[in-house]
Every structure is written in C-alpha cells, then in structure tokens.
Subunit: 386 residues, 2 copies
Amino acid sequence: MTLTSPGPTLGVVGGGQLGRMLGEAAAPLGVEVVVTDPTPDPPAAPTVRDALLGEWDDESTFRTLAERADVLTFEIELTDPDTLERVSEATDTPVHPHPDTLRLIQDKYVQKEALADAGVPVPDYRAVDSADELAAACDELGYPAMLKAREGGYDGRGNIPVESPDDVESAFEAIEGPAMVEGFVDFERELAIMGCLGDDAIDTFPVTETIHREEILRESVSPPGASAAVREQAREVARDVLDVMSGRGVYGIELFETTDGEILLNEIAPRPHNSGHWTIEGCHTSQFEQHVRAVMGMPLGTTERRAPTVSANILGDVDERQPAALSGENGVLETPRAHLHWYGKREVYRLRKMGHVTLVGESGSVDTDALLEEVRALRDGLTFQG
Amino acid sequence: MTLTSPGPTLGVVGGGQLGRMLGEAAAPLGVEVVVTDPTPDPPAAPTVRDALLGEWDDESTFRTLAERADVLTFEIELTDPDTLERVSEATDTPVHPHPDTLRLIQDKYVQKEALADAGVPVPDYRAVDSADELAAACDELGYPAMLKAREGGYDGRGNIPVESPDDVESAFEAIEGPAMVEGFVDFERELAIMGCLGDDAIDTFPVTETIHREEILRESVSPPGASAAVREQAREVARDVLDVMSGRGVYGIELFETTDGEILLNEIAPRPHNSGHWTIEGCHTSQFEQHVRAVMGMPLGTTERRAPTVSANILGDVDERQPAALSGENGVLETPRAHLHWYGKREVYRLRKMGHVTLVGESGSVDTDALLEEVRALRDGLTFQG
C-alpha cells in the first residue's frame, strides 16, 4: 500500500456515534471518511470529511458516496443491502462486510438458521406467523419465552417477553410483521466479543461482560468474571460465527453464558458495537481503528488488552424529548483514568445513547468489581434533567 | 459546566498537524474545533468542523473565527499577537495562552531575559545587532557558539553555529534581522517536558528524552535515561517556567541536561509540541486532550504515563518538493503496539514533518533502548522515494 494525501476514502452509510468514532480513528491512519445519514448534521459530522444527507435506501446519495469512496461500509443494520450492492457494482466500489451478511443479519430468523446450520450453539427458536403459532411454539419451548420481530429491532425494541399463555395474543399483536420466538435462557451472565475479519486474517478482541437493563446495554467489563474455560469457549464460538460471515470488518458478537457454563449465541452486529467501546482506551487497537483497517484492506492491529477496563453508557434520563444539555461531567473529567465520550446528539429522550464513560484500571490487575462500581458512580453523577 | 450539542467551540489559529491532532482529541470531549490557516484544505481539515482560509495576521478571518468560538487558541507561534488580542477584545472571546506569552516567546531574546529574570537556569546569551557585536560576544562566551534569529526560526531554521572567528561575518549575514548568540552547551542529553496550566491548576507530563539531528526532532523517549534526581530537577525548572507564562494551555518546554548533570532551559513553545506526541498512546490524557481541557477551562486530566513509549518522526526524504506518497507503512501497521499518525500533508520535501510512529512498551518496564531501536527500524522502513 501507499499512503497519500488526500488519503484513501472510506464511505460509511450511517453517521451516528459509530460513524463519529470511526472518523476519530481513521484520521491517524490517513483514511478520510465520508458518511451518509438521514439526519442533517449527524453526530459524525465534526469528525469526518463530509456528511451527505440521504435515507437508508437512497440510491442517488449512496452513489455519490460510492463515487467519492475507495471502500464502502455501514454502521447501521437499517442500511438497505440491495441498494448498497447495486451501487457497489455500478461504481466498482467494494463494500465490506458483504451485503449478503447484512441480509442474513437483518432477519433474526434467517440469522439463527444460518448459525445453527453451521453448528453455532443458539437458544431454541421458532419462526411464528400468527398468535396460534406463537402459542404452539411456547408450548414446546416453555414459558417464559422471548418474542422478537424478525427485522428492525434494536436496543430491545421489537423484543417482547411472553410470560404466560395469557400474554400470547397481546405480544403477537405488538409485533408488527414476521416474528420469531426464543426459549428463555437461564444465563449466568452476558458476554460479548468483537470479532475481526481482515484480508485473510481472523482475530477476536478479549471477551467482555455486558450488563443490560431494560434490554439496553448499561456497562461493559473486560476482563469478565467468567472462568478461563468459559472465555475460551466464547472465543471458539465467536470464531465459528465469523466463519459464517462474509466480508471484512469488525463484528459485535453477543453471547449468553448459561448457568450450566455453556455458551449460546444471542445476536450479531456486522459493525463496531457498543460492547466494544471500552477498546478505545482498553486495547492497543480500538474496535474502530480495527474496522477501518479491516474494511480498507490494511493489516489488522493487535487485539491485546492494555489494562482492565470498564465502560458505562450515558443514557437519556428525561421523559420529554428535548435539546441535550448534560450536567455533572466535571465529575468524570476530574477522575484520573476516566474518559468522557460525547456523541454530539442534538436531542435527548429517555434511554437514548448520548455518550459513554470509560474507566481504565491498573495494568496487570484483574479485579474489575471496584472499577465497575466507580464507573457506575461517575455515570450516575450525570443528568440531562436541567 | 454543561455539555451541549453542538458543544462549545474552540477556535484555533493554525491548521497543521497540531490542529489536526487537537481536532482528534476534542471530539470525545464534545468540543467542536474550527481552525484558520493560510493553506486551503490544511492537515486539520478532516478532523475539525471547519477550516477557514487566512494569513497569520488576517484580522477579518480571526474575527470570523472568534465569532464562532467560545475560546481562541493558536498552534503556531507565527500567529500575530496584536491581531489576536484586538479580535479577542472586540468580540469578547478569551484567548489562551495570553497574547503576551506569545509576544514573549516569539522573540527568543525577550524570552531568555524573562526566564533568566525569574531565576530559570539558561545558557549564557547576548543580543547581537552586528558582526562586531557577535565577535565580541563570542570572545566572552567562547567558541563554538550558536547564533539565533530572534524571531521566526523553527525546526533549526534561523539557527547558525559559529565554530570560530572565521565564521562570524558569514553567520551574521545569514541571519536577516535581530539576533542573539548563546554559549555552546555541552549536554549529556536533551529533555522535554509538556507543562500544563489549567484554571488554577498546574501540572507536568513525565519527562521525555528528545533526540535531534540537524536540529530537527527525530525521536522522543519516555522515560528518559536521565537519573531520578535529574528528572526531578527538570520538573522543577518546568514549573518555574510555567510561573512566567500567562494564560491556560499546554507548553512544550525543551531542556538541556548538561554533562555536569545540571538542567538548562533551551526553548519554550506555547502549545502542544512534537516532543509530546508520544502522550497520545503513552499517557491516560494526551497533550492534545490536555490542551483542549486547559484552554476551554475544563479540569486537567491526569498526566500519568501508562507505559514506556517512544515516538519517531516521519520526515521527508526527497530532494524535490513533490506530492506525498509514503511506502512501507505496512511494516508499521503489522507491528503490535506500533501506531501510525499521518498528517495528511499534500506535498513532501526534505525534512518536512509528515507524520510520526509511536511504539508502546510493556507497562512496568523501564527499558527503552530496545523500543527505541525498534521504532527507528520501523521509521527507516518508510520512504517517499517512489
């Protein structure tokens, strides 16, 4: 390769916080970033060369993006794979991960089928197209079960617990469109691994423990409390998952560690993922730099962890949608080894991801309990309630 | 403080690599950056919100910058302090560091006088306005001596060694304008410290060893080979220097460790400095994040070092000015814990600073010799010679 100025350009569909952090990571590598997003002046705007305005299937904007880019990628699964593939072929601009991967992941049932076929351990699941089918499936899988919209859900949206037969009717009505149902997983903890597919290279970042509430990620902890054997098993499952994926890039792989110490795959995101934000300070290569390296065809960086690291999401804590103004951030800024990451979103609403705080521990230490407690206290000191 | 979107804006005079790295550091803090530079599409352009076009004393551009900014700063000493101060006052926009500091530092003789008056140890020096005065000064200081243009020099430009009386005439002629001469310093090594002035806070980053050739910084090493006593003395001198400075910000403080183990001040830069680039990966807070925090009035971050760290500059190795195209960077990208920083300059010429490579060592180790050797090998594997 040769580095030039202006450097190679990465076109990213999506200009949210992931696009913003991709922009932060790309500049030192000499890679320029252009994003497209349906929102004017999206979070990524200040960190990238240009932000184009366009919907997730806007062919003309995708085309403008592709004409400026050497490689295309996406940071949101809402991206339309057909448009992306058409534009990629018409402009001879490679896209990573492959649109087939996006298709496979967008439909949670198709995703599960492909992974189960490849031998990846997944919770029991059924496709359900009616309340009757849901009732029959729950009879087999047992109550409680989790009903999921096959497409379009994220951050818990589109997921509805079915506690008993009484819930079946209302749960199915609440899902608009095709659905699947999963057996309840009795898990010890949730884990996540950022997997990396480079040009003839495969790697995984260290295992992370992820803590959700209301199905939204609250904190990530690396290393996790899981045993070495469980961590190794998680890494093996992650590699099996990557074998099913097509196209270079970083993949967020969410896992359950069951109470029996088994690993089950939960879901995959074909892009940098919230559970890997801790890598910015916690690893020598961040997931964002790794994604840029991977999709651009550069060598992958080391995935080595520098120190125990925890991250906590800054979520909207207001009931009414309103202009974003965060107070209390001096508590974060005054804490040694605490790092503020602000996403620059104009408006805040309840549970919207507005930023995150990362806290780095002593290199060589493995005790993350105190770190987790401290980062929670820092996060709890932040509020959008004027 | 309160974090908003769009966040507070920092207006930076200068959009070179320092502005680029300020932009990289500002985004996570929620600070937007606008720069002004005489070059269209300068290195900082891809990492900042906007790059305005204007000379170093262009009042109308400074005014546009100030009207968009909450705080003004500069990343190059060529900035005209009078224009900056006038615009700051007219628009009621604070500027940090204070223009007085810029005035004091721009004239190397005035700088030396102020520091010597404050008790900071400096090499012997004299102002010289003619070849005769230079000859007389060299008789007192001894040969060899270093003749320096009082204003406008950087990266060794404007510095002329005077080896013997035979050189006096030609040396003085080569300096156009007022000059000063310094006694030769018999140094063991050169050191640098990044000093930080916050809002009622003062701190210093760990001491760095700086290795120059042809008076241009080649490598920085932290920790340096100097003894603990010498490092402590360097830190004390740095604090005395900061007492003379007025206005918040990060200051590059270049020092000599003499063969007698004494610390002498060499020069000061009122801004992030090449000798502090290693802090991006080597410290919990980088010098760029620290400068943003300081000038914006946020709390300073910890200056703790994470691990032994070395940096090597990527300098132009071509004789003719030409479009920049660097080969060999895969050697850097493939090396674990090596970090590439590309500045995005369009053209390369001999000894132009085009980027740098940082290599991070084992946390807890203090042996930097092998690290230095390795980073030199990585740097030597890079070339602009097509």
